[in-house]
């Protein structure tokens, strides 16, 4: 995503340097998680819904090739052109070709994590296309030349002062006016002019329905609709796992999605596209980009059930305190940490380790992905494939040795206590001991619990 070779721990270090801001980020996301809980508690059959959603997705993955063919046939019959892209570069070239064929210069885009994954924006801009992101959060980060830090709340890492400064620079809003109402109004006026002037709109896809060849796009702002209905050409981009078998299954997924994401009973607009309007062109680009490979990994394939609600982000103690950019990928958070090693094992080998394995992600997941189990399983794969630093490997091996031999363990304990008492500067040292960076060392006890027990209770 970013041109960086830093890993999650190094990028987090930069993020947490500002302590009050880290606390604010943590609390803001926890607030979203709390809203999710309130919404969920209004639905007594919540667990049943999760079970249905998970089972529908499992079924779909087990029959995915047939559903994709059904979807394509029905979409074609509806007058929609379907394209297939094996990877990010195919996807970007298909989109560019549609633009070239129609002499399109100006494009509006609503949120699509797939196009982030494929780095579509920089590719189009290099090829002379004006691309305007129209989701407010995405427009903010686009002005700042940053990637989104969250798949549902793209600018959640920013404070209103930051947005005010960015809008002052790009939209000439009043300097120092930090009122969200005022800033949103400025974006509304600015983006309405873009909707009117644009020739082509790109949207993502939340759900694609095999039995009808239609697709559903969910937004709160209405930007996908403003773009798609105003433009002469609409391109919808989707990873192939967005397929669901039937329209009636939307009843299950739309009850889960917004409640899990933001705690709303539903998103404001759930738009169902089936046919282009008179005179309009409608295209769908179906993308693989590593997904078929993930489907072939039995331990990891059910990550493809994800509906991108980001509940796992909001609940994650590591995400909340390290920020989305520390994951250096389009999809951050726990789900990103099990998806990205499949795309590039070397570049993303750090991510499955950015977790406490507390399991909260799996508990809130509306489609019951075993996220924390998969994080743990990825660690095994990455070590076996040689993608883990030698220091970590040695440390784990040393730890295993010490814990396997009680005598070694006792000697090591004694040495440790002695060092902490006599030479505290060795352990209370940020250079030698990374554990000490954000923590105080405990006071070393005089004896181990074992020694104390033998002395005081051993005889009885």
């Amino acid at each position: 995503m970013q041109a960086t070779t830093k890993n999650h721990a190094q990028l987090s270090e930069a993020f947490i340097a500002d302590e009050p801001r880290t606390d604010w980020h943590d609390e803001t996301l926890w607030f979203v998680r709390s809203k999710r809980d309130k919404a969920v508690h209004q639905v007594p059959e919540w667990e049943l819904l999760r079970e249905w959603a998970s089972a529908i997705k499992n079924h779909t993955l087990s029959n995915l090739d047939n559903y994709l063919v059904d979807f394509e046939r029905n979409a074609n019959a509806n007058g929609v052109v379907v394209h297939w892209a094996s990877n990010a570069s195919d996807h970007n070239n298909i989109v560019l070709k549609i633009m070239r064929d129609n002499q399109v210069k100006r494009v509006v885009k609503s949120k699509s994590m797939l196009t982030e994954e494929c780095h579509l924006n920089p590719f189009l801009i290099e090829n002379g296309i004006e691309v305007v992101d129209t989701d407010l959060g995405e427009r903010i980060v686009q002005f700042r030349n940053e990637p989104p830090s969250h798949i549902v709340l793209p600018a959640i890492h920013l404070k209103k002062q930051d947005v005010s400064e960015t809008f002052h620079e790009h939209l000439h809003t009043e300097k120092g006016n930090n009122d969200p109402q005022y800033l949103t109004e400025a974006a509304r006026q600015h983006l309405r002019s873009k909707f009117i002037a644009s020739d082509l709109a790109i949207t993502g896809v939340n759900f694609a329905i095999a039995e009808t060849g239609g697709f559903v796009v969910c937004t709160n702002e209405g930007n996908a609709d403003m773009g798609a209905h105003a433009a002469k050409i609409h391109i919808a981009c989707m990873g192939f796992e967005k397929i669901i078998p039937k329209l009636e299954h939307l009843g299950v997924f739309l009850r889960l999605l917004a409640r899990s994401a933001t705690g709303q009973p539903t998103t404001t607009y759930n738009s169902h596209f089936h046919r282009p309007r008179n005179g309009q062109q409608m295209h769908i680009v179906i993308v693989d980009n590593g997904r078929s490979k993930q489907l072939g990994r039995p331990e990891f394939r059910n990550s493809l059930k994800c509906i991108r609600c980001a509940a796992c982000f909001n609940t994650c103690p590591v995400y909340r305190r390290s920020g989305g950019h520390s994951y250096h990928t389009a999809v951050a958070g726990p789900i990103g940490s099990i998806l990205n090693p499949n795309i590039d094992m070397r570049a993303n080998a750090d991510l499955p380790f950015a977790s406490t394995l507390c399991g909260s992600c799996s508990n809130v997941c509306p489609v019951k992905i075993d996220i924390h189990d998969q994080l743990w399983k990825w660690r095994q794969v990455l070590v076996a494939e040689g993608y883990v630093a030698n220091g970590k490997k040695l440390g784990m091996k040393g730890m295993a040795f010490v814990l396997a031999y009680p005598k070694v363990y006792r000697i090591a304990g004694k040495m440790g206590r002695w060092v902490m008492r006599v030479l505290p500067f060795v352990t209370n040292n940020k250079l030698l001991n990374p554990w000490y960076k954000q923590r105080e060392m405990p006071e070393a006890p005089k004896a181990s619990f074992r020694d104390w027990y033998r002395k005081n209770r051993g005889g009885s």
Binding site: T28, L48, D65, E221, M226, E248, V252, T266, H272, S292
Partner: protein, 192 residues
Amino acid sequence: MSRASILTAITNNKPSLVDLPIIDINAVIQYDDVVAQFKAVLESIGGLAIELNNMQELESEVQAEKAKGHYIINTLPELGEVDKDLATQVVATLETVHKAYLRGAIAVAENGAVWLYEHQMVNRLSPFICQHLVLVVEKRNIVATMHQAYQHIDAGKEGFGVFIAGPSKTADIEQSLVIGAHGARSLVVYLV
């Protein structure tokens, strides 16, 4: 090229077939009073639901709005003259619409959403581009949850259709809720 290789890869890598679950709608929440539930939820998401005794009350509102010189879209014959050019109207003109009066097919009690078919919008942009949106739904067409909603509508019948729940909104700046992002700044649903 890509199509064949993607489909082949999926065929080779997919797990063995598992069944679809049976969705038992009797197992989901029911409301004693779907009208009250719909009203309460719509208000909680920034909209307003008003029960109406007769369409004349609304007709006079439409006439009064028009008299003020605002650009008003009316698609309901019972509310007076309907806009004949709406289907083909250009975007730049639609952008000046102050208020749109549209009929919705059904309303959903659990989440405050109203379903609109394309023919009810006349122009796909009309419910989104107007500054203020007014929807008219028959009280007998309120269902409890989204499961019943999909039983009542045929969501793939027309080229486009949408569930709208409340006015356009965003919380992208510090999680502060702002009503009126890109779409309508207000939504009133009249229940008749």
